[in-house]
Structure formats: C-alpha cells, structure tokens
C-alpha cells in the first residue's frame, strides 16, 4: 500500500492541477471549445500509444485506427446492453466501458501483431494498414452495430448535480478523459524506464544485437503492440461516448495517418512531444476554418499534407526528437525532475 501511495504521488498532483484547469474551462468556454479539448485528450492518448510502437520500439504501424474502432464499438455496444446509471456512478460506468473497449482492442492487437511483427519496415506498415482496413470493413458490414449507417444515440456523460452543485456533461467527460490521459502517460513513462522499456528501445536500435543479448524481441514487440492497441481502444471508447455517434468512416486509413503524423510531429520517442503534437493537430484544422470560409475552398487538407512533406524534409525529428520537453527546453527542468528516457546513473527518477 505504501508503495502504491508513493507511486501515485506525481500522477495525483498532475490530476488535481489539470482537473482544476478543467473546471476553469467548464465555466469560461462554450461547448465548442470544450469539445475541442476532449478531442485533444483523445488524440493525446492515440499519439502516446502509437509512439510506444513507432517511436520507442521502432515498428511502423499504420493500423491504429482499427484498434481505436475496436474499442469504440465495443464500448458503445456494451452501453446498449448495460444501462447507464445515474449521477455519480456515471464515471465508474464509463471507465469500466473504456476498460472493456481497451481489452478488446488489445486482443485485436495481439491477433494482428503476432503474425505481422516478424515483418520489417514497409511490409509491417502495409500489413497493419491492411488489418486496420479489414477491421473497418468488417464493422461496415456488421448490422448489429449499425453497419454503414452508423450507430446513433450512444449514451454519454450527462448533466447531474451533486448536493445542489451542477456538474455538466463536459465535467463528466473531461474527468474521465483526464484519468485515461494520465494513466496512459504514466504507464508508458514508467514502463519505458524499466527493463521492459529498455527491451523496446533495444529492438528499435538493433534487433539482431538485442536478441543476441538475451532479449526476446518477438515478445517485446508484441507487448508494445498490445499495450499500444489497448490505449487506442480506450481512446475510441472515450470518443464514442462523447460524440454519441459512431460510423466506420471515422476510422479510415486517414485516422491512422493522423496518429502517425502526431507521433512524428512530436518526435518519435518523446511523450511530451506527442502531447504537444496532439494539441497542434486537433487545433490547427479548426483554427484554419476561417480560410475555408474566406476562399470557399477547403484548403486545410492541402496545407496539412504539404506541411507533412515539408516537415519530413526540413525537420524530420519533429518537435523534440527522442527527448522530452524538459531536455529540449532545459529551463523547464526547474519545475520537473530529471526525465530522460535513457537510463542515467541516479536511476528510477519520477
């Protein structure tokens, strides 16, 4: 128990600080901004989880959308079978649904990963793309979850009151999402700074050498993949219950590409980079909307894709490369303890 409390210290502080921020957003901004914030958090989870596979383990997966879809539809379907409780019980309810979604997605990750992870580079990318599409096409043809029409009226957090204090649906959704963002962040952060994480990194660096030094590289790759798809499923579940509508067209190859772009933009191997990139990628298209109104053309995707090409040519390491923000901007280290992913002599920090 003692160790649990000790290890929960930093995450809990982070939760409280960010949650207070959420309360601020709740009262200061309209529902459009609030929606954007929730989407940012969903994208953060997607980016961090994909970073685990693409960035830390060096495997190029292009099928993340498929796992997100698995989690989204699982959670949504379960919510039609298990009715939503009222009030304060909503949070554990949605949390449990997201957990279920994540577990189903991780099983999908296992099934996809086991045969595919023997392949290298381009081949792995194509196979994961293919599996992602197969998942989507399967959902498209499954009438029990709405097929091509999609699934309507999925329950989501509602407004309720706690002893007279009104709690908006945004606060419910935000709290849920925040918990998962932190769980995802700290899980990946701590795993990377352990022997398991070192195994991932060694696979990325030199798989042959890693195997010769006793690393079960297949197990490492599959573990990274399964963990990654778990969180993708969770992100999908959060999405399902806040958007209240699901359609397979939300989970196309483009969605996987979005996730890859976030990882690359933030820096492959940088969790803080993924967080920042998620903010950019969610906000920029919305910020560019006025251009669409102005010119009458939807140039956003044109700008988006062109920026991708330029990013790769001019700054391929993205924002922070393989470092965390505290290394890229050393003056921030005053606020945070040492955070390098590469093990240092003082060990086990944060």
């Amino acid at each position: 128990m003692k160790t649990f409390l000790n290890s929960a210290k930093v995450p809990l502080i982070a939760f409280v600080v960010l949650w207070v921020l959420g309360i601020f957003v709740n009262f200061s901004f309209n529902s459009y901004i609030q929606l954007i914030l929730i989407y940012i958090m969903i994208n953060m989870i997607l980016a961090m989880s994909l970073n685990l596979v693409n960035g830390y383990t060096g495997q190029f997966s292009l099928g993340h959308a498929g796992f997100m879809a698995s989690g989204a539809y699982t959670s949504a379907y379960l919510s039609t079978v298990i009715p939503m409780p009222a009030g304060a019980m909503q949070l554990p309810y949605f949390f449990a649904l997201a957990l279920a979604g994540g577990l189903v997605a991780s099983v999908a990750g296992l099934l996809v990963g086991l045969p595919s992870l023997r392949l290298k580079g381009d081949y792995l990318a194509i196979v994961t793309l293919g599996f992602g599409e197969i998942i989507r096409v399967t959902l498209l043809n499954t009438d029990a979850v709405g097929g091509a029409r999609g699934m309507y009226g999925i329950v989501g957090p509602t407004d309720w009151s706690l002893a007279g204090i009104p709690i908006s649906r945004f606060m419910g959704g935000f709290t849920h999402a925040l918990i998962w963002v932190l769980v995802c962040f700290f899980t990946i952060w701590r795993i990377i700074r352990s022997a398991h994480g070192r195994a991932f990194l060694s696979v990325r660096e030199d798989e042959v050498a890693a195997e010769s030094m006793g690393i079960n590289t297949t197990r490492a790759k599959v573990l990274a993949f399964v963990l990654s798809s778990f969180f993708a499923g969770v992100a999908g579940a959060i999405f399902a219950h806040y958007a209240n509508y699901l359609n397979p067209s939300s989970f196309t190859f483009m969605r996987s590409v979005d996730a890859v772009i976030m990882v690359v933009l933030g820096g492959m191997g940088s969790l803080s980079g993924s967080l920042l990139a998620a903010i950019f990628i969610t906000v920029i298209p919305e910020a560019l909307r006025p251009i669409q109104e102005l010119t009458g053309y939807d140039l956003r995707m044109v700008i988006y894709s062109l920026s991708l090409v330029l990013l790769m040519i001019l700054r391929p390491q993205g924002l922070f490369g393989k470092y965390e923000i505290t290394e890229a901007l050393p003056w921030l280290q005053k606020f945070f303890k040492k955070s390098k992913a590469t093990a240092t002599t003082d060990g086990g920090a944060s």
Binding site: S7, S194, A195, L201, D206, A209, M213
Partner: protein, 268 residues
Amino acid sequence: MSTPLLEARSITMQFGGLKAVDSLQFQIQKGELMGLIGPNGAGKTTVFNMLTGVYQPTQGDVIFDGQSIKGKKPWQVSHLGMTRTFQNIRLFKELSVLENVLVASNQQIEYGFFSPLLKTKKFLDQEVALRKEALELLRIFHLEGKANDEASSLPYGEQRKLEIIRALATKPKLICLDEPAAGMNHNETHALMETIAKIRKDFSLTVLLIEHDMKLVMGICERIVVLDHGVKIEEGTPEKIQASKKVIEAYLGTDEDLQGSSSTTGGH
C-alpha cells in the same frame, strides 16, 4: 576426458547452392581460450552465427553445456550462457553506455509488468542493484565516467570495449569474440590481449575468438581451429598451426600461385 562446454557436431550451413560451412566438428573445454582463424570468407562469422542461434545449421547440431541448441533462438542461447560480440560493432547507438549494459542484464530481472507501474520496492531495489552492477562492470574497463554518454559518441576502441562489457553483463559461461582487434594498432591490441586474459580469469569464462591479427591469436590462444572455404583444415596448438603447410597454403596460396604472382609484380 570431461564433457566439453561447447561441441559443434558436424555442422553444415548451406545457402541455396553455397555451402558456407561444411561438416565442421570441434570441441571447446570449459575454461579454454580457443581461436578460430582462416582467410577471409572462410565462414568464421557464419560459424558464430550457427553457434548462437542466429542461423540454424542445415545439418548437424551444436551442444552447449550438455544441451542441444537446435531450434533455439539467439535470446534462448544467451539465456543458456553463450554470448558474443559482432564483427561490425552493433551497439545500441542512441542509447547511453550504461543502457547498453543494462539491456544485456534484462535476463536477471525478477519483476513483472506491473511492478514498474506501481514503483514497488522490488522494482526500485532491483533497478538500483542492476545499475550498481553495470557501473561496476564499466569501472573495470575504465568507462564509468562515460556512463551517460551516447554509445555512438565513444571512440572506436571504447566502442569495441563496450561491446565486450555488454556481452559480459549477460553473465555468460562462453563468450564468442568476433574480430575484437579489428582496426586496432599495436598498443591497443596488446591491451586487448591483457583484457581478454583478465576477463577469462575474473569471470571464469571460456573464450572463443575469431581474429586475423596473428600476434594476438598466437599470443593468447591455447588451441586453434583453422577454417578454409567452410572446411576445417587444421586444429591444434599455436606451434602446430604455425608449422602447418596446409594453413600456410590456405593463407598464401600454393607454390605455383606464389610463382605466378611474383612474375606479374616484376621482381623485388
């Protein structure tokens, strides 16, 4: 005669039509320091790859410490106690010196998946212990000052040393060194000879060595196996090898070859 630590039983490696190694048979006793030499392309690294599970022999078997290696993957072979270094250094370039060593000691960890997440005492204690051991290894080789440096930033000689240290971190019984002296000058080679002798003593190791530097080989190897075109052509003590006509021919060619070449170089 006691059971050898490593026995290659008539191993053959065939790539399509090419027999890279043909029916190779040899043994290494525990504690021995053995050399594997031969002209370039003789198949020496291929042999290493077969011994460590990187290649599966097309025929034959490798028995290590009483167990067959057949079908085992390199990480399983490593867990059994056989480790290696690489001819072209294969360090984890972007990881730190310390981390390169820590990866190799993954075999020793006893915590599961959730321990790091909850930062249990077991996890924290083991991490501290592992780091201590890794730093100790680095200290023996005078690299502890560079523990946090990126592995690729090390000068060539130190990178080679790091590869050996990393292999040692797997707590092996047998270490296969693939051309550890490549690119080294006279002094460095001499230091390497001392290092190899030292680790063999301090870590109770058996050593198998591929090398081209004859001074090194003849200087420290107790027994030598000579390979040419995938076939063992000679085996014995350094003296026997140095005196062997077969070995000289394999490296320098026969009398006819020598005559032919001297006429084209036009004398001198």
